[in-house]
Symmetry: C2
Subunit: 210 residues, 2 copies
């Protein structure tokens, strides 16, 4: 009898794939990409390591998939904040603030997405997503220039400045060593940090002291 | 007779090591880390590939060394610009402008240093050097606050915003595909681009429209 994939088999395969992704996500959120070993993921997902390689060409391939999934969530959140009411400067500030706050609330995952040294394949995804953020900001800056709440400027250039400023300034506070320190010594009040980042970004955009 | 390394042998070894580094540097400046294959480096340096591995543990190890060398040069240039005459805001502007201009004049090397997806070992060097830049900027910002030419702010946070804004905004213009386009279609007048980046950075710092 010829091999034929039944609907049930397809479904079971899809479920296994999803479980592998979910468990990898969990590992990354817990200790970064470097801690996400295939044997550990297989254990968590309740599959053989060989099964993982039937679903993904390589470890890097699986990681790239998880990276896309996790980053798309953040991109969607930024898009959502930019889509609310208010003038463009207000919406940009809201989006930047939310991005920083969300990162500081899930520091390990955020560090992995923003700065953890990763395989070139994952790094390529990172470059793509940075463009996705920049493109959202660029649209909002153009709207702001039209509305008159943001002075005329090279919107594309400024959008990349925003992406760089906010992600770079989060790298330190998010880095694993720093996070432990913070948890030990202080409360989780990151407002002054977020305020400093947002001030720089909004001043950069508007040239107005805040 | 026991093996004893003579002065001449030591010198020859040191020269070979230096030649390997120089040739790798040349390869990277020409086509990025990904184009720097060990066989090509060995060819250029006139050594066997095995010789390279006697001097460096691995390809990544050699790359990390070249990365350090190339980046240290840029860090020194920034330090030099920050050490000239003028108030801190002027010196910061000068340092940022020079950094951007130098990057745009050697775009392949700059892209490799700033953004090329690289092995985690090299990426770790990148994170260290970003801290070195930030630390130089931080000192200058503190001086500016003391002098009164820069408003009071979280100098450390702003320094990382500067590093992020300038490097991220150069990533696009430096990326290999973009560089070809630029060479084909336009002159090498990057002043408007550099001006836009510097304006954002200085406005971010000072909150004064420029």
């Amino acid at each position: 009898m010829a091999y034929r994939e039944t609907e049930k088999m397809r479904q079971r395969k899809a479920e296994a794939r999803q479980r592998i992704i979910d468990c990898t996500y969990e590992c990354v959120a817990d200790g970064g990409f470097r801690s996400a070993r295939i044997t550990r993921i297989a254990d968590l997902a309740g599959v053989a390591t060989g099964t993982i390689y039937r679903h993904f060409e390589s470890r890097e391939d699986l990681f790239a998939g998880v990276f896309r999934l996790a980053t798309q969530r953040e991109v969607d959140k930024v898009a959502e904040a930019l889509g609310t009411d208010g003038d463009a400067a207000m919406r940009l500030e809201k989006a930047l603030r939310q991005f920083a706050r969300r990162a500081l609330r899930g520091p390990v995952m955020a560090w992995s997405l923003i700065a953890e040294p990763v395989d070139p394949k994952v790094e390529e995804e990172r470059l793509k997503y940075r463009k996705a953020y920049a493109s959202l900001f660029e649209t909002a800056i153009r709207e702001g220039i039209k509305e008159g709440c943001i002075p005329d400027q090279d919107a594309r250039q400024s959008s990349t400045c925003l992406v760089g400023a906010i992600s770079e300034s989060l790298v330190g506070p998010l880095s694993p060593s720093q996070v432990e320190e913070t948890t030990e010594n202080t409360t989780d009040n990151n407002d002054p940090l977020v305020d400093a980042i947002i001030r720089f970004c909004m001043q950069g955009l508007t040239g107005t002291r805040r």
